[in-house]
C-alpha cells in the first residue's frame, strides 16, 4: 500500500517537478527511500483536504481549522524544499509562518466568539450583509 502510494507520488512528482530530479542533491541516506516528492505529495494532499473542508463546511470554527490545515501544508512544503536545497531558508520561513499563524489563531477565534455573540450562530452563511 505504502509502496503504491509512494509510486503514485513519485510518478506525479516526476510529472510535475521533473526538472528538479537531477543535479540538485538528494535526500540523505537514512531517508533515501523517501524523496522530496513524498513530502510534496503529503503537503498537497493536506492542502486539498483543507480546501475541500473550507469549501464544504458552514461552521466558522471548522472553516478556520481547514485554513490552518492549508497553512501547515504550505509549511511542510517549505521545509521539504529547504531540506532539498540544503539551506535553512524554508525553516526560517516556517518559524515566521507558525508565529503568524499562532497570532492569527488567537485573533480569529476571538473574532468568531464576537460574531457568534452577534448572531447566536456559527453559520458562515449568516454573514451576507455586505453583498453588493
Amino acid at each position: 500500500m505504502i509502496d503504491t502510494t509512494f509510486g503514485v507520488a513519485l510518478t506525479l512528482g516526476q510529472f510535475t517537478l521533473g526538472q528538479f530530479t537531477l543535479g540538485q542533491g538528494d535526500l540523505p541516506a537514512p531517508m533515501s527511500g523517501i524523496t522530496l516528492y513524498h513530502y510534496l505529495f503529503t503537503a498537497s494532499t493536506m492542502f486539498v483536504l483543507g480546501l475541500i473542508g473550507f469549501l464544504t463546511r458552514r461552521n466558522l470554527i471548522v472553516m478556520f481549522l481547514s485554513t490552518e490545515l492549508m497553512f501547515q501544508a504550505a509549511g511542510i512544503a517549505l521545509i521539504a524544499f529547504g531540506r532539498f536545497h540544503m539551506n535553512q531558508t524554508g525553516d526560517a520561513f516556517v518559524i515566521f509562518v507558525l508565529t503568524v499563524a499562532a497570532a492569527e489563531a488567537a485573533l480569529a477565534l476571538a473574532l468568531i466568539v464576537l460574531l457568534f455573540r452577534r448572531k447566536e450562530t456559527l453559520d458562515g452563511q449568516a454573514w451576507a450583509s455586505m453583498k453588493g
Partner: protein
C-alpha cells in the same frame, strides 16, 4: 485783522515770480537730520497704538483706555512731526532719506537692482502733509473717545486699532521713499477705510458701503500698480530720490513743447497714476463710493473721508509732479479715431477735477442728509484741489488740501455731534435751531466757522485757498472754461453749505430724534445708556422746542420711519461733552488760524522748497497770462469770489432762514425746480447708471460663465467620475455576500493558475 488787510493787498499786486534756476527736486540738496531714526517714530507710534489696542482687545478692556493710548500715541507722532518740520525748515530747500531696514532689495540682473526699502523720503511737502495728518488724527481720536463711548469694549478697541493702523498707513504713504512703500500705505489706508466704513457690521447698508468703497478703490489701485511697474520698467528705480532726477530730461522736453519726443511708456505712467488718484480721491468717474462711505462713524468720515485719506490722490500728483508734466494720452497718427490727438495728463486731472466739483456740488444742493451733503462737498472740494495740482501748481492744490483738512474736519465733527446728540438724526428737515439749545453753542459756532470757510467767506482760510486755485485757472489761457465752472461751483458751494447751517443751526428750536433714539438697534450701538444724561456726564440735558411741534409730524410724515411712537416724548438730546467741545473749538480756531498760512506764504514756501514745485509750463513767453475783467486774475479774484460766495450765502439766507419761518421743519425745499431738483436729489442717477452699465452686464456675464462652468467644466469632471462608477455597477453582482462563493472563486482561481503553471512548465 487790521494789519492783515494791507499784507493781503500787497500780496495781490505782487507779480507772478519768474522762475530762475532749477525747480523741484533739482533745487533740493541732501541733508541729514540730527537724529534720523527718530523720524520713524512718526509711523512707529501709531503702530504702537494699534498693537496696544489689539492687546487691550485680547485682554478684554472695558474702559476708555484704548482711546487714551491712541490719543497719546498720535499726539506723540504729531510732536515728532513738529520736530521734523523744524529741522527741515532750518535746512531750507532740502530732502533727506532715513532708512530703517532693507525690505526688498535684490539684484535681478548683475548690476541691476530692485530696491524698495523701509525708508523715508522727507522734504517740506512731506512735513506739510504729516503735520495735518498727525495733528488732526490726534484731535479726532480725542473726539472719538467720547463719540464712540456707547461702544466701550471690543468694538472700542477695534475702532481705535483701525484708527491707529490708518495713521500708520498714511504715514507710509506720505513718507515712503519709494513707490512700493507708497503703494503699501495706499492699500493700507484703503483697508482701514474699509474696516471703518463697515464698523457697524451688523448693518447691511454699512457692509454694502464698505464693499463698494473697497471694490471701486481696486479699480484705481490697478492704475497705481501698473504705473509703478511701468516706472520701474522704464526708469529702473522706484525710489523718489533716484527717480525724480531721471524724469527731468523728459520734463525739459515737455516744457519746450516737444511732448511727442517723450517715450510713450513714460507718458502713460502719469495717466495710470491719474486713475489711481481719481479712485482714492473720489473723482469722476470713481467718486460714487465716498458719499456711501458716510455709513462709518463720523470721526472716521472726518479723518479718513474728508481730511486725510482722500487727499492721498492729490499728494500722489504733487509728489510725482514731474511725471505728470510729461504725461499724456497720445493717439497714434494712423489711428482711425481722433488721429494724432494728444491729451496731457494734467489736462485730464484738471477736467476730471472741474467736472467732479460741479457735479458733486449740484448733488449736494439737493440732499437732505447733512453728512451726505458734507460728503458731496468733500468730493467737490477735492475737485478744486485736482484743478489746482492739474494746473501744475502744487501749491494751489496743497494749500487747499491743508485748509480743507481743518474746516471739513470741523464741519464733519459738528455734524457728528448733532448726530450723536439727536439719536442719529441727520435729516436737515427734522432739525432746527440747534445752536440755541442749551449746551450746543460750541457746536453751532464751530459749524459756522466751518461753513464760512467752505463757502469762501472773505479772509477765511477756505477763501484764500479757493482763490489761489481760481486765480491759477483764470490766469491760464487754456483753462477759461474750467475757471468759470469752478467759479459757478464756488457759488453753489456757498449756497448748500449755508442751507445746512440756516436750517439746522438757526431758526426756531425744534427737532425729531433719529431712529437710534429708541435704543434697540444694537448694530448701531446707541443703547439707552448712551442717552442717559446723568449717568454719562452730560450734566445738562439739552432743552428742546415746544412739545407741540411734534404734533406737526403728521403733515410731514412722509419720512422713512413713519411711526416714532411715544418714545419721542421721552427723548432728550444730549449735548456734547468736554472732549467733543474741546476738539471742535480747537479745530474751529485752527481753521481760522490756517488763514495766516496765506499772507505769511507758509504753505507756498513749503511746497516750493519741495520736489513738488513744478516747472512752469504756461508762464513762458509764448502765452501771456490771461486776464479777468481786464485785470490780473490774482488781483481781482478776491472780489469776484467773495461776491459769488456772498450771493450763495444770501440765497441760502432768503430761502432757508427767512423763507421758512412758518414751517420750522418743512419738508420741501423752498424752491421747486421740478425735474432738475429731483435729478440732483437722486444723485443724477449715477449709481443707477453704473448699475445698468457695469453691474448688470457683469452680473449677466457672471451668470453665463456660471452656466458654462456648470455644463462644460463640471460636465467633464462628472464624465470622468461616471466611468469608474459604471464599472463598479457592472461588477457589483459578483459580490454575493456568500462566504463560500468567494472561497470557491478563490479556489477556482488557484486551480486556473496551477493549470497555467503546469502547462507552461511541461
Amino acid at each position: 485783522m487790521t494789519d492783515f488787510l494791507p499784507t493781503l493787498l500787497t500780496l495781490a499786486s505782487e507779480p507772478v515770480a519768474a522762475q530762475v534756476g532749477p525747480v523741484g527736486f533739482a533745487a533740493l540738496k541732501e541733508v541729514s537730520l540730527s537724529a534720523p531714526l527718530a523720524a520713524w517714530l512718526i509711523p512707529g507710534l501709531p503702530m504702537l497704538g494699534a498693537v496696544l489696542a489689539v492687546l487691550m482687545a485680547i485682554g478684554g478692556v472695558k474702559s476708555k483706555l484704548p482711546a487714551w493710548t491712541t490719543v497719546l500715541c498720535l499726539a506723540g507722532s504729531f510732536a515728532v512731526t513738529l520736530w521734523l518740520y523744524l529741522q527741515m525748515r532750518d535746512a531750507g530747500a532740502a530732502y533727506t532719506t532715513v532708512k530703517l531696514f532693507d525690505w526688498i532689495s535684490f539684484d535681478y540682473l548683475p548690476g541691476k537692482a530692485f530696491v524698495a526699502n523701509f525708508s523715508l523720503y522727507i522734504d517740506q511737502l512731506t512735513c506739510l502733509w504729516m503735520l495735518f495728518v498727525t495733528g488732526l488724527a490726534a484731535c479726532i481720536a480725542l473726539y472719538a473717545s467720547e463719540y464712540m463711548s456707547h461702544d466701550v469694549g471690543p468694538g472700542y478697541c477695534r475702532f481705535f486699532f483701525a484708527f491707529c493702523l490708518f495713521v500708520f498707513s498714511m504715514a507710509c504713504l506720505v513718507m515712503g521713499d519709494n513707490l512700493l512703500l507708497l503703494y503699501l500705505g495706499w492699500e493700507g489706508v484703503g483697508l482701514c477705510s474699509y474696516l471703518l466704513i463697515g464698523y457697524f457690521y451688523a448693518k447691511p447698508s454699512a457692509v454694502a458701503a464698505a464693499k463698494k468703497a473697497f471694490i471701486i478703490n481696486r479699480i484705481g489701485d490697478l492704475g497705481l500698480a501698473l504705473g509703478i511697474m511701468l516706472t520701474f520698467v522704464h526708469f529702473g528705480t522706484i525710489q523718489f530720490a533716484e527717480l525724480l532726477p531721471k524724469v527731468e530730461q523728459y520734463v525739459a522736453l515737455a516744457t519746450s513743447g516737444n511732448l511727442a519726443a517723450v517715450p510713450a511708456s513714460v507718458q502713460w505712467i502719469a495717466v495710470l497714476f491719474t486713475l489711481a488718484a481719481f479712485g482714492k480721491s473720489a473723482q469722476l468717474p470713481l467718486y460714487v463710493w465716498l458719499p456711501d462711505a458716510m455709513e462709518g462713524p463720523t470721526p472716521v468720515s472726518a479723518l479718513i473721508h474728508a481730511a486725510t485719506m482722500v487727499t492721498a490722490g492729490v499728494y500722489l500728483v504733487a509728489r510725482t509732479m514731474p511725471l505728470f508734466q510729461c504725461g499724456a494720452v497720445t493717439v497714434p497718427p494712423d489711428a482711425w479715431v481722433l488721429p494724432g490727438l494728444v491729451v496731457p495728463a494734467l489736462d485730464i486731472v484738471v477736467w476730471g477735477g472741474a467736472l467732479t466739483a460741479l457735479l458733486a456740488a449740484t448733488i449736494g444742493m439737493a440732499q437732505f442728509d447733512i453728512k451726505r451733503i458734507m460728503a458731496y462737498s468733500t468730493v467737490s472740494q477735492l475737485g478744486f484741489m485736482f484743478v489746482g495740482v492739474g494746473l501744475a501748481s502744487s501749491y494751489a492744490g496743497a494749500f487747499h488740501v491743508f485748509t480743507h483738512a481743518f474746516f471739513k474736519a470741523t464741519l464733519f465733527l459738528s455734524c457728528g455731534a448733532v448726530m450723536h446728540g439727536f439719536g442719529g438724526q441727520l435729516d436737515l428737515r427734522k432739525l432746527s435751531g440747534v445752536m440755541w439749545m442749551k449746551g450746543w453753542l460750541v457746536v453751532g459756532l464751530a459749524m459756522l466757522v466751518g461753513c464760512l470757510n467752505l463757502a469762501g467767506f472773505p479772509f477765511t482760510a477756505g477763501f484764500f485757498s479757493k482763490d489761489v486755485i481760481l486765480a491759477e485757472a483764470f490766469s491760464n489761457p487754456h483753462q477759461r472754461v474750467v475757471a468759470w465752472i469752478l467759479l459757478v461751483t464756488a457759488g453753489l458751494t456757498a449756497y448748500y453749505t449755508f442751507r445746512v447751517f440756516f436750517r439746522v443751526f438757526l431758526g426756531p428750536k425744534s427737532f425729531e430724534p433719529g431712529d437710534e433714539a429708541h435704543g434697540h438697534n444694537d448694530a448701531h450701538g446707541h443703547d439707552d445708556r448712551a442717552h442717559d444724561g446723568a449717568g454719562h456726564g452730560h450734566g445738562a440735558k439739552g432743552e428742546h422746542g415746544a412739545k407741540g411741534e411734534h404734533g406737526a409730524k403728521g403733515e410731514h410724515g412722509v419720512g422713512e420711519k413713519g411711526a416714532h411712537g411715544a418714545h419721542d416724548q421721552a427723548f432728550q438730546p444730549h449735548a456734547p461733552g468736554w472732549a467733543i467741545n474741546l476738539v471742535l473749538a480747537v479745530l474751529a480756531i485752527g481753521s481760522l488760524v490756517a488763514a495766516y498760512a496765506y499772507p505769511t506764504k507758509w504753505v507756498k514756501g513749503l511746497v516750493e522748497k519741495s520736489s513738488a514745485a513744478a516747472v512752469d509750463l504756461t508762464g513762458s513767453a509764448a502765452h501771456a497770462p490771461a486776464t479777468l475783467l481786464g485785470m490780473d486774475p490774482h488781483e481781482i479774484m478776491y472780489y469776484v469770489s467773495a461776491g459769488v460766495g456772498a450771493v450763495g450765502i444770501l440765497v441760502a439766507f432768503f430761502l432757508h432762514y427767512l423763507g421758512r419761518k412758518t414751517a420750522a421743519t418743512s419738508r420741501a425745499d423752498a424752491i421747486k425746480l421740478g425735474a432738475l431738483q429731483r435729478g440732483a436729489q437722486h444723485k443724477w442717477y449715477v449709481d443707477e447708471f453704473y448699475d445698468a452699465t457695469v453691474r448688470v452686464p457683469l452680473k449677466v456675464l457672471a451668470h453665463v460663465l456660471h452656466f458654462l462652468d456648470k455644463v462644460l467644466v463640471d460636465g467633464l469632471v462628472n464624465l470622468a467620475g461616471l466611468l469608474p462608477r459604471g464599472l463598479g455597477m457592472s461588477l457589483r453582482p459578483s459580490q454575493g455576500g456568500e462566504l463560500h462563493g468567494y472561497a470557491l472563486a478563490m479556489a477556482c482561481g488557484i486551480a486556473v493558475l496551477a493549470l497555467v503553471a503546469l502547462f507552461s512548465l511541461v
